[in-house]
């Protein structure tokens, strides 16, 4: 390990030595971004192995590597480089969406539908209620609620609560891939997290339009936004069905070079999503689900191919997510972050245990089911960006706190879930 760290330092040193020989090739490629992307990959791989040796999730190592090299700390990977590499992150999100959808099996959903539904309803209701209550309770310390009338204040607080109700399909899938867990805890968590993702996007649509209309004082704009977001949601599902049909045809008639096919599909869908305004992750999730559960073809070859890409994709996604974490903003609001994050965790703990008990789920689900619902990552971050962009009056300040809480959950959540899987005896690959 020390040897690898020394090599990494030598690589960075070598880059500094080469600096004066740099040729200006802007407009053709971004050589600096490329070089630093490689350093980021190698550092993430090294830190991932280090985390694994410490019996922590590898993805925590990837996050720490990104954080260490990112603009917040060392600044070796500046913000411009992350922007240059945004396509790579989109590719990672798309591939994981497709894999996550294909991992959601109808048979599993049917078998444990009672547990899944109860945990989903209890957890979301409790988290929403507790976060709303906590937000209203500490409103005097929250900059984005200052100066708001009671009506707008309530709706903005509700929006904040909904934003933090989101789970992380990426973290869940990354940990399940890393540990090889396939037991009742793994299956229940994955189903709850994926379904919750869809429900939260619907809730977010409603909460966002209410908050925006109350802050702006116009109901017309709210209806327009609501329709826009609903169209986006339904469009994503329709696009997912279309992509599912294309993937099915490919699996039926061609069935070759599946990794490459998946990458091309993600790129094409990403381009179409941008042009037609639908959600990349949701559409691919729907596509994966339909191919696995509805299509008259065997989806295993595709799922196997996607599993082959999973580890590199997770390294890229989490290392870049780590590099995007804002340490300074977190430090400025850390007491609030800890209060809200602990309140959320408490709500998840109580509600999911209660729901699992009522559903008479397996003891491991009753005991450790909550550990898989703490993590937050990409989806929550993208929703916070939407709030900051489209509701700038309160959104920018809200984003600062939300990103701090998401960072906290992104760090603590995977550790908890791995411990939960270990104690449940579901870890296959140690």
């Amino acid at each position: 390990m020390i040897r690898r760290l020394v090599v990494l330092m030598l690589l960075v040193g070598g880059a500094v030595l080469l600096e004066p020989l740099r040729a200006p090739t802007e407009g053709v490629i971004a050589p600096r971004s490329l070089f630093l992307f490689g350093i980021l990959l190698l550092t993430a791989d090294t830190f991932g192995a280090l985390a694994h040796d410490l019996r922590l999730p590898r993805l925590l190592g990837y996050l720490v590597a990104g954080l260490a090299l990112g603009p917040s700390l060392a600044g070796i990977v500046p913000a411009g480089v992350l922007e240059d590499l945004s396509m790579m992150k989109r590719l990672a999100v798309g591939l994981i969406g497709l894999l996550a959808g294909a991992e959601l099996r109808l048979a599993d959903l049917k078998e444990r539908h009672r547990t899944i539904l109860l945990v989903l309803v209890f957890e979301m209701t409790a988290v929403l209620a507790v976060l709303l209550g906590t937000t209203l309770l500490v409103q005097h310390w929250l900059p984005f609620l200052q100066g708001l009338e009671p009506g707008p204040l309530f709706f903005v607080a509700l929006l904040f609560a909904v934003l933090l109700t989101v789970n992380s399909p990426m973290v869940t899938l990354a940990l399940l891939t890393e540990t090889g867990a396939r037991g009742p805890l793994a299956k229940t968590t994955l189903s709850v997290v994926l379904l919750a993702d869809v429900v939260v996007i619907l809730l977010f649509t409603g909460a966002f339009s209410l908050a925006r209309s109350s802050v702006a004082g116009t109901s017309e704009a709210a209806t327009e936004i609501l329709f826009g977001l609903m169209r986006e949601m339904l469009g994503s599902i329709a696009a997912g069905a279309l992509i599912g049909a294309v993937v099915t045809l490919y699996l039926r008639f061609v069935k070759r070079e599946l990794v490459l096919f998946a990458v091309v599909v993600v790129f094409a869908v990403a381009a179409a999503a941008e042009a037609l305004h639908f959600e990349l992750l949701l559409s691919l999730l729907v596509a994966g689900f339909l191919v696995e559960n509805v299509a008259p073809v065997r989806a295993e070859p595709l799922v196997d191919a996607l599993h082959q890409t999973a580890v590199p994709v997770f390294v890229i996604f989490f290392a870049m997510a780590g590099a995007e974490l804002q340490v300074r903003e977190f430090l400025a609001v850390w007491p609030l972050v800890v209060v809200v994050a602990l309140a959320r965790m408490g709500a998840i703990f109580g509600s999911s245990r209660t729901a699992a008990r009522i559903a008479r789920a397996e003891p491991v689900v009753q005991q450790y089911g909550w550990t898989g619902l703490v993590s937050q990552a990409g989806v929550a971050l993208s929703l916070s960006v939407i709030v900051a962009d489209r509701l700038p009056l309160v959104g920018l300040a809200m984003q600062t706190l939300a990103v701090g809480i998401i960072a906290f959950n992104e760090t603590v959540g995977p550790v908890l879930f791995r411990r939960g899987l270990e104690r449940a005896g579901e870890v296959v690959v140690s």
Binding site: G14, L21, R22, V28, L41, L42, V311
Partner: protein
């Protein structure tokens, strides 16, 4: 919305048609390329549907550089010295003679075309001629491997062909790497003296050697491919190593394929990881190659009309150079038991590294006819890859039947 949907439909239909056409060619000619991926790249790219705009094509640079470096590294791992030491001297002589003669013939013809016909000054003519001569020299082992798989009997010619294909690639990539260093493009910081051509050539090698030594240390003591997720983890480390080495080359406006060739050579000859590294590179070669074809298709744009004649001319030059090189090596240099005057016919396939060199050229020398180089390469790769397997099969069958008859009295072309 309609435009995007139309674009998606065009891509889907285009891909299916290309797939069907090339599938037929696969059945009829034993075609081993992946031209349908060039078609899909072209359809996705800015010239047709624009789903991948020019900016987005550039965003793919990390994947493309990974693909370029991947192929360069794989080539480097072929040259493992303990294995090379077991190769018969006659085989090496034939292979080197073929590679050097083909390169020399193609270079002479192309310099003539670029300098005397088109009228470029010497430096520009040399850079373009060397690049295309390197592309012409390349011969893909894919067609030979396909014949080897099909062959019922082991022909004595097959190991010579496999070795020749690898030495062709070595000569081509080295020449290409050196020419980019010698006629280096781009300025350095005002605080340092601009390096001379020789210094750039040394820097070029030094980047590869330094990367090789560092990544030898980095990859040592990793888990084996047989461990759970071992290949995925090795993939990440290798991808990181290749992207860093390629990034350093791009940083200096040099060839990442050459840098990674040196890196692969060092990894293959040091430590205990070489088997895992080579196995992983081989397993992933095809998807990497196809990804490169998609990118090449997306980045492709017809060159200026007045220079378009160079593309078909290049195909003729390659054919002539290949036959000349094959004749010199197979008829003059080869010992009687390996005598095959039509050796060049068996080495027509060009394969992935040819496309990699052309794509690399477009990135490093965008100022000097990048579209022409890419067009000529793609035309040549498409044409030769279609006929290569059949031609290789015929030459190998002939050599096998000659060997079976014990016909060592093959006509000596120099006897008369």
């Amino acid at each position: 919305m309609q435009t995007t949907l139309t674009a998606l439909a065009v891509i889907a239909v285009g891909y299916i048609l290309a797939y069907l056409v090339f599938d037929r060619l696969r059945d009829s000619f034993g075609y081993v390329g992946g031209a349908e991926y060039i078609v899909i790249g072209f359809l996705l790219g800015p010239r047709v549907t624009g789903l991948l705009g020019a900016g987005q094509v550039q965003d793919l640079t990390p994947i493309v550089s990974l693909a370029l470096g991947w192929l360069g590294m794989l080539l480097g791992t072929y040259f493992r010295l303990p294995t090379m030491a077991l190769i018969e001297a006659d085989h090496l002589r034939v292979a080197f003679a073929e590679a050097c003669t083909t390169f020399g013939t193609a270079l002479a013809a192309l310099i003539g075309i670029f300098h005397y016909v088109v009228g470029y000054p010497w430096p520009e003519a040399t850079v373009q001629a060397v690049t295309l001569a390197a592309v012409a020299t390349l011969s893909s082992p894919a067609a030979i491997d396909a014949v080897t798989r099909k062959a019922s009997q082991r022909s004595p010619l097959l190991p010579v062909l496999q070795l020749t294909a690898r030495l062709d690639a070595l000569v081509a990539v080295t020449a290409f790497g050196l020419i980019l260093a010698i006629f280096h493009q781009g300025q350095v910081s005002p605080s340092v003296r601009p390096p001379t051509a020789t210094e750039w050539a040394v820097i070029n090698v030094a980047v590869g050697v330094a990367s090789g030594v560092l990544f030898h240390l980095f990859l040592e003591h990793r888990g084996s491919l047989d461990e759970p997720e071992g290949s995925s983890r090795l993939f990440v480390a290798l991808a990181g190593a290749i992207v860093v080495a390629s990034g350093a080359s791009y940083y200096l406006n040099l060839s990442p394929i050459y840098t990674n060739l040196v890196l692969g050579f060092i990894l293959a000859n040091s430590g205990g990881t070489h088997r895992d590294v080579t196995r992983l590179l081989l397993v992933t070669e095809r998807p990497v190659y196809l990804a490169l074809l998609i990118f090449a298709g997306a980045a492709w744009s017809p060159s200026s009309p007045e220079l378009l004649f160079i593309a078909p001319l290049f195909v003729i030059v390659r054919l002539a150079a290949r036959f000349t090189g094959g004749w010199i090596a197979g008829a003059v240099v080869a010992p009687p038991e390996l005598r095959t005057p039509k050796l060049g016919r068996a080495l027509l396939a060009q394969g992935g590294i040819a496309v990699a060199l052309a794509v690399n050229y477009t990135q490093v020398r965008p100022d000097l006819n990048p579209d022409l180089i890419l067009t000529a390469t793609l035309v040549s790769v498409l044409l030769f890859d279609i006929v290569a397997s059949r031609e290789t099969g015929e030459v190998v069958d002939q050599a096998t039947s000659d060997a079976r008859r014990g016909d060592t009295s093959a006509p000596d072309p120099l006897a008369s």
